[in-house]
Amino acid sequence: MKKLINDPERLVAESLEGFALAHHDLVEVHLAPDYVVRRGAPVGDKVALLSGGGSGHEPLHAGYVGRGMLDGACPGPVFTSPTPDQILACTRRVDGGRGVVHVVKNYTGDVMNFEIAAELAGAEGIRVEPVVIDDDVAVQDSTYTAGRRGVGATVLAERLAGARAEEGGSLEEVAGIVRRVNAEARSMGMALTSCVVPSAGRPTFDLGPEEMEVGIGIHGEPGRRRLPLEPADRIVDMLMDPVLDDLPFRSGDRVLVLCNGMGGTPLIELYVVMRAVGRVLSDRGMGLALSLVGNHITSLEMAGCSVTLLRLDPELERLWDAPLHTPALRWGV
C-alpha cells in the first residue's frame, strides 16, 4: 500500500489536523467526536446546512464548509458513515435556532446514523429536516436494492441549498432546494483502477490492465459491469446515455455539468471527458450553462470519473453564482 500516511487508524484525525492548519481562517475542527464547522458557528440568523459521511471522498464534505455552502460536516472513518453522537454534536453546534437541514447520501449506514441523530436532536428541541440524495443511475432497480446511491448531486445540493440558506431561506425552503437538486440531477461513474482502503491495505477489487468497471459508487464497491477499456469518448457515451434517459433530459434544457475525478485521474484527462460531454450535449440540443471540472467527490486514489447533470432553472442558476467561500470552492468573495 503506497500512501502518504503514518497509520491507517490515525489517518482521519491527522488529516483533519492538517485541514485545520490550512483553513483555520474559515473553519473550526473538533476531534473526538470529529466534526468541522464554520468559524464562529452558529453563523448569523440563518438555517444551518450539515452533511457528513465516510472519509475518503475529499474535498467532500469538510472542504465544502463555509459561507454559501455547509455550516457543518461530520467525517466518519474511511468509507464508513459517521455516528449519531458525532452528528448530534455537530447539529447542536451549528443550530442557530432556525433549524438544521441534514444532507444525507443514500447509503444504509448514513441514512440510519443520520436518522438516529435527527431523532436525538429533535428530542432536544432542535428542528432537523433530513433530505436524502440518491442520484446514481447505475443502481437501476430500487425496489430490490437499498435504492440509488448519493453521489455527485450531493456537491451541487450542498452548494445551492447553502446559498439559499445564506440569503435567509426558511428550513423548508432550504430543504426544498436540496430536494429539487436531487430531483433534477442524475449521475453515473466509472473506474479505471480500484482504490485501496488504508485499513485493508489492498485494492478493494481487481481490474485487469485492459478492463474498466462501469457504474461504480464512491466507496470502491464494484460497479454493475466490467468491460474492456474504451476510448474516453465511448466511455462518456456509456455514462451519458443512462443519465440523459433517466430524468429524462430534453432538447432545450440548460444544464450544469459536473465532470468529476475519482481522485487518481489527472486534470488533463478530465478535460478530455468534459469535451466529450459537451459534444453529447450539443448533439442533443441541450445548453451547457455551468460546469465544474475536477476532483469534487472522490474515492481515495481511484482513477476514473463520474458525470453529473443538473437541469437548471433561473433560481438554481442565480444561487449557483451567489458568493461562496469554502476551502475547496470559492467565488464572488
Binding site: T83, A146, G220, P222
Partner: protein, 210 residues
C-alpha cells in the same frame, strides 16, 4: 445452570461477544469484502473494544448494561451495523427496565423488542440477506420453546442453532438491503457478514446460559 440470567451473566455475554467478534474480525471483513466494502469486522471490533473499555469495566444493572452497550456501539461502530446492533441492545434494555434477573419469558420479550427495532430501523424483512435472517429464526425458536415451557439453557442452545442455520441460509439469497444490494445477482453465493456476527451474538448468549 440457572433458569435466569443476572447482571453478571449478561456482562459475561457482552464480554464474550467482544472476545469472539474481535477474534473473528478478519473473517467478517473478508465476508464483507466479497459483497460490501470490507469493513464489517473492523467496525464490530472497534465497537466492542469500546464496549469493553467503557461499559464492561464497571457494568451496571441489566437494563443499564445493555443500554450502555447499545449507546457505545451506536457511537463507535458507524456504518450500517452500528445503528442496527446499537438499536438491538438499546431496545432490549428498554424491555428489561428495572429487572435484576431475566427469565426466558422476559428474554423473549426483550429480544422481540430488539429485533423489531432492527427491522424498523433498517426497513428490511426476512430474506433480504441481512442480520435479520439470523435474528428472526433465533427469536422464533425461542418463542416456540417459550410456549412449550422449555428451560432457558436448552431454549438458547436451540436459538443459537436456528441463528446459525439462518446465517447459512443467506448464502443463496440475493441481497436487497444494504450495500450488498448494489451487486444484484452478484451477491449470490456469499454469506452475509452482518448475519454472521448476529449469529455469533446469539451463540454467545447461549454459551453464558449453558
Amino acid at each position: 445452570m440457572a433458569d435466569t440470567l443476572d447482571a453478571a451473566a449478561l456482562a459475561r455475554w457482552v464480554g464474550l461477544c467482544a472476545d469472539r467478534l474481535e477474534a473473528r474480525s478478519a473473517e467478517l471483513s473478508q465476508l464483507d469484502a466479497a459483497i460490501g466494502d470490507g469493513d464489517h469486522g473492523a467496525n464490530m471490533a472497534r465497537g466492542f473494544r469500546a464496549v469493553r473499555e467503557r461499559v464492561l469495566a464497571e457494568p451496571g444493572a441489566p437494563d443499564q448494561l445493555l443500554k450502555d452497550t447499545g449507546m457505545t456501539l451506536l457511537s463507535t461502530v458507524g456504518g450500517a451495523s452500528g445503528p442496527l446492533f446499537g438499536t438491538l441492545f438499546m431496545r432490549m434494555a428498554g424491555a428489561l427496565a428495572g429487572a435484576t434477573e431475566v427469565d426466558l419469558a422476559l428474554l423473549i420479550r426483550a429480544l422481540g423488542e430488539g429485533v423489531e427495532g432492527v427491522r424498523r430501523r433498517g426497513r428490511a424483512e426476512a430474506g433480504d440477506k441481512t442480520m435479520l435472517d439470523a435474528l428472526l429464526p433465533a427469536l422464533e425458536s425461542l418463542r416456540a420453546d417459550g410456549e412449550r415451557g422449555a428451560a432457558l439453557g436448552p431454549a438458547l442452545q436451540a436459538a443459537a442453532r436456528a441463528a446459525e442455520e439462518g446465517c447459512r441460509a443467506t448464502i443463496p439469497m440475493v441481497a436487497s438491503r444494504g450495500r450488498a444490494s448494489y451487486l444484484g445477482e452478484r451477491s449470490l453465493g456469499h454469506q452475509d457478514p452482518g448475519a454472521t456476527s448476529a449469529a455469533a451474538v446469539i451463540a454467545a448468549l447461549a454459551a453464558v446460559a449453558a
